[in-house]
Amino acid sequence: MSFLTMVYAYLYYFAALVLVVGLVYKVVQYARTPAPLKIPTTPAPTTRTGVVFRMTREVVLFESLFRGNKWTWIFGWIFHFGLFLVTLRHLRYFIEPVWLPIKLVQPFGVYGGMAMVVGLVGLWSRRFFVDRVRYISSPSDHLILVLLIAIGCSGLLMRFVFHTDVVAVKSFFLGLYAFDPRPLPSDPILLLHLLLVAILMIVFPYSKLLHAPGLFFSPSRNQVDNPREQRHVAPWAKRLEQE
């Protein structure tokens, strides 16, 4: 096994570990922190089912962002939907045999890759051209966009310009499952692409990318509007009552 393959194998074990452990830690932390008061932004659904619908609209359509800012919504939605398609397309490298839906989604995944880059460039340009957004952007906000754009572009380059041996890439990743890494092609663009993705995985639980799990725990969105009907008391608040 080459040195390069070794480095990438360990990099991906490490990245996967950080991503999974980091995310599990945050999700558990969110879940265990009580929400002592009912604070849904109203009008809010009065039933659990209604909340599921509200949340689905937020996750799939970015409803609140749509109401807030149309440009950010267009770019943001294009990026996220593109990323979703790209992720589905990439699943073929990680499963054997490849499921039928993943086979069918392959051509759309390419468009997804393009859409992703377009959306990201739009979002990034807002950080320069809209004075309010410029004001609130810190270096990390720019860097994360650069990282994602670089991932998208390196991926598209491999698809259209510098092809790599995808069969070998797949066998590398499948080998990781069995702790038996197979040789990874040494095309620079592939190595760059994989390095950036690993960085993204590592950064995820320590950055604003936590907005993904965070949304599901946002009390203003996930609470049922029924405070008069059902008494809602957090464990720490209950202790006050016993005093």
């Binding site: 009580p34 800012n69 907005h211 008069r228």
Partner: protein, 511 residues
Amino acid sequence: MAKATFEVPELSQYIEVPAVTPETMAHSMPFVAKPEFQEPLGFPGELMDDWQQKAIGKMGELLGKYRSLRVYLDACVKCGSCTDKCHYYLGTKDPKNMPVGRQDLMRKVYRRYFTLAGKLFPKLVGAEEFTKEVLDDWYSYYHQCSQCRRCSVFCPYGIDTAEISMAAREIMDSIGVGQKYCNEIIGKVYKIGNNLGLPGPALADTLEGLEEDVYDETGVRVRYPIDEEGAEILLITPSADFFAEPHVDGLIGYGKVFHEAGVSWTLSSYASEAANFGMFIGSYDNMRRVAQRIREAAIQLKVKRIVFGECGHAWRVAYSFLNTLAGPWDFLDPRYPVPQHICEFTYDLIQRGKLTFDKSENDDKVLTYHDSCNVARASRMGDTPGGQFEIPRAIIRATCNHFYDMDEDTIRDRTFCCGGGGGLLTDDLMELRVKGAKPRVEALNNVMQEKAVTHMAAICAICKSQFTKVLPYYGMEMDQIVSLHQLVSNAIVLTGQDTEGDDEDETDEAA
């Protein structure tokens, strides 16, 4: 026009998003509470020596107690959706009044002390030490948030700056930096029973006066009882209703509605305040202590139902938190929600045809309706979501012939705060209040021009006080703001009312 020591913004036809102009409001700070106002609430009297360490400790405690705070500090992606939504940003151009700008004052401290990225690469992620300068910024800008939740409507993650402002105020209180206005008032509630410090005998006197006024005007003996044991309904209303215009006209209206409904009711001198300023300072303990007074009064007076008068943040605490803070209410009549809003009560009577109105009594006015922020975005009325918008409007339509809504972008859940909510209704913040009112006044001005609107009805004591004070700065009249139940009071025809009374009304008003 009222005199101003600052520049009153010019009104425009549409909401104009101003260019970012840093630090325009850095000087705006409310008076700091003296030790005598801090200690009754359980807070240190003045800034502690080791305040920084204490503050970080308190932040850690709150992060463990409030999921909202934890998630909201992590989740923001700086997308900018909220940046043009806050009335204080629109009115002051100060970027620290953009919701995310305000949140970042705490987020940068959170990142420095509670996140790996902020500990390792503070510059990269915009993390900062909690210095005295940062604390000063906190005191200034966390007292430029009216906790109206407009930002949370447009945030893709529902981040509510109010939650962060409340936590910031709680942290500042815990190190001895409290706001005089809120903390003095909470002390008054503990000592006397209401925000204005009106003692029981004064209330009884006022209510007796109201009974006489209503009798003189209508020839009907409408009662305004206080501390009457065994009454069916306990009315909890903001103490402004007891003495100031236009609030008191609303209280007169509640009494007439109860009279027509034929139910017995009472006020309580012990719980003579609907507002709960404990929420403004983010203090669960103080909010609970204030709310418990209502429970005690309800038990003591042996009532069966609780109804709240017109008050915005109060209705949030009542609707959303009262069951949590002072429940369970199993000793009250289970057929009615606890608590009920006076608008729900009146609306129900209208639906059942129990009230008779002479709408022409309000023909001297063309009305619009201001959705108070906390009623709109933090509570509900009736059984269906959005009832908090429809029920008050239905009452206006039932009592007035001329009603027009303001621009859709400025009402319902997109309503603009009056500019005085969340513990900012104090004269030491006058500049902020005037500038923060701009978006609402702009929308009002537009319907005044286009629809000849003369009056704006509201169901919040803070909104009413704020507009009374602020409208004159914009060249409008202070009495253009009216109570919703003032309209009910004008139009309601009481059973046995002297219908010849119209002329007398006129002379009364002239007198």
